[in-house]
């Protein structure tokens, strides 16, 4: 370290030459700063935000599958297309299951806030059962399609359909596994801070699953039906 450099006052107080134009905006403070001066955020905010970023990355992954499906929607290779395969009542039922489960998941979040062990478990259980119903319906749809010779190996369109819907189904399955673990943890450990953080993450996950389903049934089934 050298001590003999000529020091300019400005080099110390405004080394990056950000200027003092921001002074008025920032309540008369001297130095231009930008935002976010509060120091490290609380663990709750950190975990919530981190999980939000993860969910956004998951949405980007889904968008790659969606892009593939959008490109391949007409690549039926002489095989069945959407119109030949989709059963609107089944899809409507699946949508209803997931939407109601999203609602009950939200109610479980309210119950968590009220620290009611009973209602949390009740609403989580209903959410789980609805999720299972959704998966069962979807499995039945898939099995039916495979029986008809319209499995994912038949054409690129069917490959992309099974992939994008299946990816969503896998996420629902993982969510159900997580749900079961959460129910056990809340029962055994109560409403500790780390459990509360996990409940926040689970709620966001389950709601985003429904958001993806909205996009899915719109793009894949409804728009696909029209072709």
């Amino acid at each position: 370290m050298s001590t003999s450099e000529t020091l300019h006052e400005r080099d110390i107080v405004d080394p990056y030459r950000l200027g003092r134009a921001h002074a008025a905006l920032h309540g008369g403070r001297e130095y231009a700063t930008g935002h976010g001066e509060g120091g490290p955020a609380s663990k709750y905010v950190i975990v919530g935000y981190g999980f939000w970023i993860f969910l956004l990355s998951d949405i980007v992954m889904f968008s790659a599958f969606f892009a593939a499906h959008a490109v391949l929607q007409t690549a039926t290779a002489g095989g069945p297309s959407g119109r030949d395969l989709f059963d609107p009542s089944s899809i409507a039922l699946e949508t209803a299951c997931l939407l109601v489960s999203s609602f009950t998941c939200g109610l479980s979040a309210v119950a968590t806030g009220a620290r009611s062990q009973l209602w949390v478990q009740v609403f989580l259980l209903i959410t789980g059962l609805l999720g299972l119903a959704f998966l069962a319906l979807e499995a039945r749809d898939f099995a039916g399609m495979v029986m008809q010779g319209a499995g994912p190996q038949r054409s690129a369109f069917l490959s992309s359909l099974f992939a994008v819907v299946g990816c969503h189904g896998l996420h629902v399955s993982a969510g159900l596994l997580w749900l079961g673990t959460m129910m056990a943890q809340i029962f055994v450990k109560g409403f500790r801070p780390n459990i509360l953080r996990r409940m926040l993450c689970f709620n966001l996950f389950w709601h985003v699953l429904d958001v993806i389903w909205v996009a899915l049934f719109t793009i894949v089934y409804l728009i696909g039906e029209g072709r």
């Binding site: 609380s42 919530g48 980007v60 892009a67 609602f103 309210v110 926040l200 709601h207």
Partner: protein
Amino acid sequence: MSDENVERDDIAPGFLDSPDLRDAVQSYVIGFVLASLLTAASFYVLYTHLIWGPGIPVALAVLAVAQIGVHLVFFMHITTAPDNTNNILALAFGVLIVVLIIGGSLWIMHHLNDRLMPMQEMMQMQR
């Protein structure tokens, strides 16, 4: 619920800033009702002749976006308040990426497919 989120100028996504039980439940009930209506509308649009044929995909897209908005606001409590800015910015970044990927891929693949030699001609060249 409010003791989990200490600072006032930065809220975790998904956190509802209200200790009142009624408020909290109300948010989910309104969201559920709206989402159900929008879903029903999507199916209705597709299976009836309310909307002119070629306009159906657009109508469905609009309804889907609206329903996603309902989910964001009423279920995930993502609002445009200043304490939610970071969450909205992250979401906006994600949306931008999704638009670029899906839109870009569709545009590029459409051009590529357009200019791809038809299979018949290609097979004739093989002979």
